[in-house]
Symmetry: C2
Subunit: 227 residues, 2 copies
Amino acid sequence: MKRKLNPSKLLPAGDSTIPRATISRLALYLRELQQMSRAGQQTVRSQGLGGTLGLDDSQVRRDLGALGISGRPGVGYSVRDLSKAIKKILGTDRTWGVVLIGIGHLGQALIGYRGFAEQGFNLLAAFDVDEGKIGRKVLGLKVLPLERLESTLLGQEVQLAIVAVPASEAQEVVDRLYRAGISGVLNFAPISLRPTGIGHAIVNVDLAMELQRLAFDVVKRAAEEEQ
Amino acid sequence: MKRKLNPSKLLPAGDSTIPRATISRLALYLRELQQMSRAGQQTVRSQGLGGTLGLDDSQVRRDLGALGISGRPGVGYSVRDLSKAIKKILGTDRTWGVVLIGIGHLGQALIGYRGFAEQGFNLLAAFDVDEGKIGRKVLGLKVLPLERLESTLLGQEVQLAIVAVPASEAQEVVDRLYRAGISGVLNFAPISLRPTGIGHAIVNVDLAMELQRLAFDVVKRAAEEEQ
DNA sequence: TGATGTGAAAGCGTTCACAGCG
DNA sequence: CGCTGTGAACGCTTTCACATCA
């Protein structure tokens, strides 16, 4: 039987600890706050912040409390202060260097995705093994041969990689990225990859899995309506 | 104070109920099982199924138990039976008709994504408002004008839609899809959309949010290593 | 008055430990 | 003997209810 050595459900952050569940909602809060900020809104109440996200107002207050953020009774929270605090915790109060591996349809789409730069993620290089793609420019970014991965990373500050290669290649590419000094991988290949060592983070996104989740929700709702 | 009328944390499925947390792991199990099946593996133990997913063996047994699936002591579970049972619960034991709205970079990538068809999701039509894209064929699928959405849906069995339009257009498009009879929406616009009524499901995927999650994990691990 | 902040309770989910079965 | 199935314990998360403060 495999047992975890140290479950450690609480995450150290600064001088306090923030519950997992709270962390998972932070990016959601931030997106709402940025939208409010663009609309010129300066303060927000817990109910207003939770509303569109489907969250209870008391849950929002608990989350913000866990971040060490205080609001003003009768008024609410400062949109600006809240955004700053969340960005700091998420690590997006600075910019990140990112490389992309795999310039298929999805890879090309990711190069063109404006949302990354808006949150401080700079796509610095793109790699592929396909001779037909190497040397081509995709939206201003030149596609380099994968062999040049290590030498390219040496010269630049790159912490993250996005992997959009076939599932059969993913594990090898990820291992190679970690060896080359990358700290975190966003994996789009439909295969479960675990970080190989401490200091290595991975986030898996499987688009087909998201459609399955949707299909389940539809079936569930249909069943609920029926009775 | 807004309060939920009926939290209903348990989901009816067949004649039993399945915990939320279990549901969220089902697509993961299915992917592992399909991989094992392709490799010719016929049975799997709870430890083997949980291993690559980072899950405890007892958790796997609890999950499968909640689905009403039994294994054989000393042997394990049937890969085939397990796959079937999970597909049935997820609703992917049949095929789904899907339309795509928004043929930007991401939309084009989604048309080319093979994983959808493999899980029974058939992309039947693609729509955009851009005159430059309408009429073009993208990977064999003709781009139709968004005006033709309702008339096109009338003639076909389409239950799901994938929305890959700018955030500013997303709410309007989603409302329109629901009115046109769509049951579920997979939304890639970076904005929180809630289903407008019962019988309407939505799943939100925000690629920039996933990178934020990754950045957080990297910062956290760095802090952990430090002490 | 209208919001926050927070003990306390209730609800879930995970893990442990081990009986039981093939 | 090896693995499943599952009470029971534990810990996390959410929700309630209300004191508190500007």
